[in-house]
């Protein structure tokens, strides 16, 4: 009897935690999104679905922009993270752990603070653009801060480890002899990479995309700090609806819309990639 109860007992603390801090707020928020009223006279539940249609119309631009920024950042992340992960996994030697630690080191500094420090790097006469402009390599009116580029660069920077780590784990598990076997079977270095290393690293890329695309799309810090009103992302809208306008139903409805869009996107992605196969390889 005790043996049969043990698994449930193990699940209890985490389960309760999730119930309290995930399920309850979710249900509250869902209810909130269907209420009407204002901050002064209070909100009343009326089952008002119209809010969803309204926010979609009003904030479609920011929603689409967020998904586009998130997608671009994710693609840049894959391109930037793969070589780093590859190098650490296959050429890191005995220092692998140190390199991974170096990669994570900036993350001991607060997320917001790091992003603010990027302002100093990207500012018009800052340490990056200043010398380039002085040298005449860039026109005087060139700027990055406030542009989509700055926001996407910030996203890439802030989520880099979340892409490197899963890819590293996948690459680390590849037996170097398997790559040698490909070389032995008439595959040049490029073909061996494409036919063996890449397919075996795919589960890592898959996990990395999940871990970066979702938070990057709903991020509200990078755009606020590095962007301008023309780069506003959906996270910022939700934040200002909650904290500035106190329009709780609109904020809740936006949150749920974003969640639904991301979930649908992730499932479609998993289907298209054939998660089954990806996971099978990963579970080897």
């Amino acid at each position: 009897m005790r043996r049969r109860l043990t698994p449930y007992l193990l699940v209890l603390p985490g389960g309760l935690w999730l119930l309290l801090f995930f399920v309850v707020p979710m249900v509250t928020m869902l209810s909130l999104s269907l209420q009407e009223g204002d901050i002064v006279s209070g909100y009343v539940f009326t089952g008002h679905w119209q809010t969803y249609a309204d926010v979609l119309v009003n904030y479609r631009v920011q929603l689409v922009r967020s998904l586009v920024y998130g997608a671009i950042a994710t693609v840049v992340l894959i391109v930037a993270a793969f070589p780093v992960a590859y190098w650490i996994a296959f050429h890191g030697g005995r220092r692998k752990a140190s390199y991974l630690f170096l990669l994570l080191l900036p993350f001991f500094v607060s997320f917001v603070l790091r992003t603010i420090s990027w302002r100093y790097v990207l500012t018009d006469e800052g340490i990056l653009l200043g010398p380039l402009k002085d040298a005449g390599l860039l026109p005087d009116d060139f700027h990055i801060l406030g542009t989509p580029t700055a926001v996407i660069l910030g996203l890439v920077y802030n989520f880099l480890p979340f892409m490197v780590l899963p890819i590293y784990v996948a690459l680390e598990r590849i037996d170097p002899r398997v790559v040698e076997a490909a070389r032995d079977l008439y595959a040049g270095p490029v073909v061996a990479f494409r036919k063996v290393v890449l397919p075996l690293a795919l589960p890592g890329v898959f996990a990395g995309v999940l871990m970066t695309f979702v938070p990057a799309s709903s991020d509200y810090v990078n755009s606020a700090v590095l962007g301008s009103s023309s780069t506003a992302m959906i996270g910022q809208v939700i934040q200002s609806q909650y904290l500035t306008s106190s329009n709780y139903p609109a904020a809740s409805a936006l949150s749920f819309t974003l969640m639904a869009v991301l979930l649908i996107g992730v499932f479609a992605y998993a289907r298209a990639l054939g998660t089954e196969d990806v996971m099978k390889v990963a579970a080897r």
């Binding site: 037996d175 002899r177 398997v178 040698e180 079977l185 063996v196 075996l200």
Partner: protein, 365 residues
């Protein structure tokens, strides 16, 4: 011997380990004939795997030349060498099926699709994996994975097949079965096999010739029988099978047979040209020695008497350890062909005899 499939001339390999130069292979000269089953045998760290990896192209020699079919391939990348390797851990592609694994090399060589299907099918038949083509490596047993690895290499009809301890991961029964199988497949396809192993039994059963390696150099090279019966160094005698090494000084030479004496009636006869007074190391295989409790009558034999120290029953044979006047304890294997009872027990006085041709001088010092 036919034409040379593989030639190593003065091949040398140095590694830097913690800033120190280590010589893995020292000026090795080696010729493997077409269609030969050739084994590189030695303990771990003797340079056998490095030698094989230099033939495959995974290591570049520090000095010397590697030739395949007479062509210098030193410095040629592995994928451009017409040899294939069977890896110790099989190194199958985990994301591909058995069929796709075997077809990998042919696809790289851009063989026509129909031809690939035909050859892969035939090869899977040869290695007895018919019907397993859709399985992923992890769905196959160790023995089956081993066969896929073999098929994956052989299907390309390479100039030579390099096998790096391919049976090491299998259990004893399967290993013995695969030994026979490997030999059969080699005969069937007629491809040169270079086989790296530390298992002397494996090397003796399968090889046409064996190179026994030690510390980066070849200690002895020859057919299994010669290696076993006539080891040229103490190392070879000890590494291949069990051997008794008897030290002694030649007392006199009668008709090309040296006599070493260890007391009245205690003598070892060795066919050698060594002159009287020479110090000899003599190797005698344990199964060549006859053990009896009665004083034997023979005169043209080596004869030693001693006391049994230990008796171990091994099923097919019984092993006796005997202390004699000739130095270290001698081991005697007695085939359990006739006797149900042991010939002697610990503490018994016994007489050991063997023919002169079974004494082999391993080093004249």
């Amino acid at each position: 011997m036919g034409e040379a499939a593989i030639e190593l001339a003065g091949v040398h390999k140095e590694f830097a380990v913690h800033g120190e130069r280590v010589q893995a292979v020292r000026r090795l000269d080696l010729t493997v004939a077409q269609g030969e089953f050739f084994s590189l045998l030695g303990p771990s760290g003797c340079g056998k795997t490095t030698t094989m990896r230099m033939i495959a192209g995974f290591e570049e020699p520090t000095g010397g030349t590697v030739r395949l079919d007479g062509q210098d391939v030193t410095g040629v990348a592995p994928h451009k060498r017409d040899v294939n390797m069977v890896f110790q851990s099989y190194a199958l592609f985990p994301h591909l099926t058995a069929y796709e694994n075997v077809a990998f090399g042919l696809e790289r060589k851009r063989v026509a699709r129909g031809e690939i299907r035909k050859r892969v099918g035939e090869m899977l038949d040869i290695v007895s994996l018919t019907g397993m083509d859709k399985r992923a490596p992890r769905e196959l047993s160790g023995g089956q994975q081993q066969r896929v690895a073999l098929a994956r290499a052989l299907v390309n009809r390479p100039r030579a097949l390099l096998l790096d301890e391919p049976l090491g991961a299998l259990d004893l029964k399967l290993r013995q079965q695969m030994q026979t199988e490997l030999k059969r497949i080699q005969r069937e396809v007629g491809i040169t096999f270079v086989y790296v192993t530390h298992d002397q039994g494996e090397a003796l059963t399968m090889s046409d010739r064996i190179a026994v390696m030690r510390a980066g150099a070849i200690e002895q090279l020859g057919p299994p029988r010669a290696i076993y019966e006539r080891p040229v160094t103490r190392f070879v005698a000890g590494f291949i099978g069990t051997s008794n090494i008897i030290d002694g000084t030649v007392e006199r030479v009668d008709d090309g047979v040296a006599v070493l004496t260890y007391g009245p009636g205690e003598r070892v006869l060795v066919p050698t040209t060594a002159a009287a007074g020479t110090a000899l190391e003599v190797s005698v295989r344990p199964e060549k020695i006859d053990l009896s409790r009665e004083q034997p009558a023979g005169t043209g034999c080596s004869m030693l008497s001693g006391v049994v120290k230990d008796v171990v029953y091994h099923g097919t044979s019984t092993n006796y350890t005997v202390t004699t006047a000739a130095g270290p304890d001698l081991v005697v294997f007695d085939q359990n062909a006739r006797d149900a009872e042991d010939l002697a027990g610990p503490g018994d006085r016994v007489h050991l005899t063997w023919s002169p041709q079974h004494s082999y001088p391993i080093g004249v010092s």
